[in-house]
Symmetry: C2
Subunit: 450 residues, 2 copies
Amino acid sequence: MRYVIIGGDAAGMSASSRLKRREPGAEVIVFEKTGDVSYSACGMPYNIADADKPIESLIVRSAEAFRNSQGIDLRTGHLVRKIDTEAHIVYGSVTSGEDFEAGYDRLLIATGASSILPDVAGTDLDGVFSLKTLEDSRKIKTSLEKNDVKTAVIIGMGYIALEMSEALSARGIEVTMIKKREQLLPWMLPELSDVVKNELIEKGVSLEPGLPLEGIEHSPNGLKVTAGGRAFEADLVLLAVGVKPESGLASDAGIELGASGAISIDRNMQTSAPDVFSAGDCADCLSVVSGKKIWLPLALTANRGGRLAADNMMGDRQSFNGIAGTAVFKVFDVEVAKTGLTLGEAAASGFEPVYKAVVAKSKAHLFEGAAPIHVSFIADRTSGRILGAQMVGKEGVARRINAAAVAIQARMTLSEFYECDLAYAPPFSPVWDPLLTAASLLLKKTDGKV
Amino acid sequence: MRYVIIGGDAAGMSASSRLKRREPGAEVIVFEKTGDVSYSACGMPYNIADADKPIESLIVRSAEAFRNSQGIDLRTGHLVRKIDTEAHIVYGSVTSGEDFEAGYDRLLIATGASSILPDVAGTDLDGVFSLKTLEDSRKIKTSLEKNDVKTAVIIGMGYIALEMSEALSARGIEVTMIKKREQLLPWMLPELSDVVKNELIEKGVSLEPGLPLEGIEHSPNGLKVTAGGRAFEADLVLLAVGVKPESGLASDAGIELGASGAISIDRNMQTSAPDVFSAGDCADCLSVVSGKKIWLPLALTANRGGRLAADNMMGDRQSFNGIAGTAVFKVFDVEVAKTGLTLGEAAASGFEPVYKAVVAKSKAHLFEGAAPIHVSFIADRTSGRILGAQMVGKEGVARRINAAAVAIQARMTLSEFYECDLAYAPPFSPVWDPLLTAASLLLKKTDGKV
């Protein structure tokens, strides 16, 4: 049996490792267009923040290790350009120029996502970067080493933009964040996004919302960013307006696309083409809350999807039943966490969402290091079912969100969650965990009992 | 309506506050035998550790605040000695000597738990303490202030003993821990209890297991503890061999006792006597895992029980459906957490428990501050149902256990838990949260799928 995998990052390498482990005799070929495989994309901002840390420390496992100790035929610098799903052949070209082709019995498309480039002039100038690949990180880090970067403009305010505002500040760079819409973090509950906003301001980041990017050009002092009619000088510009699924290759091959233009897959990770599977940031998935297809590029989803794709490529029937949509990140000293649907997603999915943001302490009252946590569940008013949760605070947020993620997976109502026996000890929590307090107070806004 | 409550700690004050809030016109009388109400018992070791912190900072709400702003008729120094359940009258005596009696429409027994005193000579000597009440804390703290305490012997190795080993060490005292049984932490999985043991040894605590206490006497240098035929000199002795439910008053009144000699209550917090309810450390409760009655004195259970008892005393039918049995504590730099049944309890409850202790990182590989976490689920071999979880590590343990606590409440299997979308970001977790890794590896020991 010959398995071909397009893309050597989280999903692709999870799949190829599992294929080789479970079927050592099989031929497993991975085509990766870049020279890098299996690196911690989520760790990139933290690496950039630290001038002394080599970029290579982000590499979890080298191409050689996959080749030698696992027997995976991993071909870096191989760009697949076309899939013939009828003939079961992929065509491509190598970095050096020559073409290649390879037949497959089962194919996995794990092409990931790529940065969205704003459609304005100057995004290709020297000193203008985006951050999606390890190569992007290398370029940014080299630029910080070689040039005297004093000011940076970040376009966008998603979590990469936020993490990079911290990373660049850590390097002593003055950061200005520009974004198109007025609302800073539209997916967050307003009481919670205010906490993030205040943290950014307190840490010296300039926020400029409501300014659509118009162009970037050279200026005598470096770069000039024009947005909403205003001009901003900067030594470095980071474009972080978002990512899109890399689904063009699949789409060109006649494979159906789904949510947000990602490759549509079923519970068994299979695309619309026979023997073709997909996993990771290029594919869509199910929301366990709404039961609908969503596109949410997350590292755990990619790893899990790759693993399950491998099982199904080998003929098992293993289902990926969906994700809650759990994400955490850090912005300076503030931890931000969410799981499930946002208020807007919940309404769009036909629920009648209610929420109640509460402020509680991360530890027992007066215990050293206790910090205020802003926390809210989002629930359906009539059924009381938990649809989502969001949390922000300087301490005790990130791991706490998992209790809500499990509750969502178990389709719990607020009343059921309120019955949970969460951990208490003064160094870690008030007697009533902030999540229990939030559940109890939101209950009053639902048709459930108090 | 007249509500009488015996005991002014967590359960008693939660109940009386709720009664007054929901029924402001009702008469709510609380009889508390000590002078203290509503203090953080769990915070006592941390307070003792800090010479500069007044003992009063443990008081959450003063007796005056309950009286004046909530209108609760709170009578401290009132010891109830007898309950006439037929006549609906309680009898007692005040600290000053005179007797009192009070009729009730509904009665709540919230007498808590008390320290078990080993049945040997010398437990009443000066310099010998136990730690259950605020008054106990006061005595220990005063003794540390007035005397030059250089060495301490702690009898027992439960969580109060462990927390006090840290507190006394923080005061510069050399601590020796003596316990009867050979096994240090018999309820813990052996791989995990070794971590706690090593931490204690590393922090300079002398461990002396397998030595039954024989007596305590004065010695020229202070106190002499004899245990297992050996003698230990100490300036201070702490008896921490465990606690027992304060159920004698109820038992004398003919009220049925249940698990471990605690007052037996139904889901509506009602005892076997009409109009008599019980909550907190003196009462038993249901395990959501086994469905059986257990006795597990926990602060959240007492607060929740008090609140639910109030609702039921007012005629509502609100059920307490049980607890998972979640507990966390800190021993020096190690966090210890458990939820659900222990291996022994699981076997005794008719399950066929399996476990697999794994070591994972608390944060992403190589991320600053990442610490090894030892974690294990305990599951039923045939059904794969999660029965318990235990975790030990220097970072990222305490709040993480809540995900397992919710899973237990939702009666999840390991496979179901493994599908959960837990949070990932390098500062907080590996891509696969340690709990997911533990679930995945234990799955292989069950009849479930991998």
